[in-house]
Amino acid sequence: MRVRALETVLTEKGYVDPAALDAIVEAYETKIGPRNGARVVAKAWADPAFKQALLDDATKAIGTLGHVSRVGDHLIAVENTPQRHNMVVCTLCSCYPWEMLGLPPVWYKASPYRSRAVKDPRGVLADFGVTLPKDTEIRVWDSTAETRFLVLPMRPAGTEGWSEERLAEIVTRDSMIGTGLPKAAP
């Protein structure tokens, strides 16, 4: 098919080494995913000083955690509270914090989410099975530039004293986009 034809043309012209393409695909399939973001959220839940640093400058704060993926400039962490729920969209294309969450899921890049998130976020949340209190403020961040947004969800009750590793397991990808909530404590 045409994709293979293009790759052959680019290879024959000396533009790309197919092994380098393999390495890019492999990195996104195996290394870069929502685990990175989950570790950051768990750390913020467990460590108030880190949480403050994350909200002040997320790129800088994550840079201090050697074990998590390197992250590009202008990452902004936005905190969910009982009064306010944050949700992230890119109505213009598909901007998404790849280094924290991996490649975006199909629904994030598709027309229904991109069109409706800024107008009817409660309807979108219902599609995810999420209902918020009527008076919670909903803030939708449209990622229209090279800033990137990571939602810091609320820590579920019943997780007091948990280790960061255990906390990270209940942080879902969707909870860091704002279309979901962390898994409840058992």
Partner: protein, 213 residues
């Protein structure tokens, strides 16, 4: 496409794979590699995707749009010929990529997003708390001011530094750095009295998109 109606429900897929088919990964990798070493900046790539005919844009999957757009971009820039993709082989020599062949050594460089922050040439015109109106602009060229906020009043919430300006960078007319703000709108300002009263929407707005009130 913010605010368009009729696309239906959002359909999350449990345990979604990174790629649904192998070709999707190859397209993603080719676009990243050629973009990085061939001088196709992110804004020009976005413009190429937006420039697909609307009926193609709306009916194509995400990576199909990426493929069609990068193929068009490389053809326009004389890097490849459509006849070569049709034939499945290089039929002639082409000039080398700006940064040379994309090899394994280049991979780690592209795994972290590039930086778009730049030195400011002038002080920021707005500060947090300022009331602003988005301009009603409708360029045929690339812009990152979404249609649904044009001509509306909002409040500057954050200053995010001075950034490469997509409206010029997309057309290889320079980085032309501009101040970037988070501007927040009440949903009723955007969608009318029936809008969700608990909703606020923000965009990332470059200074040339805004006028003081």
């Amino acid at each position: 496409m913010g605010g368009m109606d009729g696309f239906g429900k959002v359909e999350p897929e449990p345990n979604e794979p990174t790629f649904h088919e192998k070709w999707e990964g190859r397209v993603m990798a080719m676009v990243r590699a050629i973009g990085a070493n061939g001088g196709l900046n992110i804004d020009s790539q976005r413009f190429a995707r937006e420039s697909l005919p609307p009926e193609v844009y709306l009916a194509s999957s995400y990576y199909k749009k990426w493929f069609l757009a990068v193929e068009n971009q490389m053809i326009e820039r004389g890097m490849i010929g459509r006849d070569e993709v049709d034939a499945g082989h290089a039929l002639r020599q082409s000039p080398p990529l700006k940064r040379g062949k994309f090899t394994l050594e280049d991979v780690s460089r592209i795994m972290v997003r590039g930086s778009f922050g730049r030195e400011a040439k002038a002080p920021a015109m707005f500060k947090p708390g300022d009331k602003v109106r988005t301009k009603n602009i409708n360029p045929a060229t690339h812009t990152r001011l979404p249609r649904y906020v044009r001509g509306h009043t909002g409040i500057v919430e954050r200053i995010n530094g001075c950034h490469v300006f997509p409206d010029t960078a997309a057309h290889d007319k320079g980085e032309n750095p501009q101040w970037l703000y988070t501007v927040v709108f009440d949903a009723r300002e955007l969608w009318g009295d029936d809008a969700d009263p608990t909703l606020k929407v923000s965009i990332e707005a470059f200074e040339p998109y805004l006028e003081p009130i």
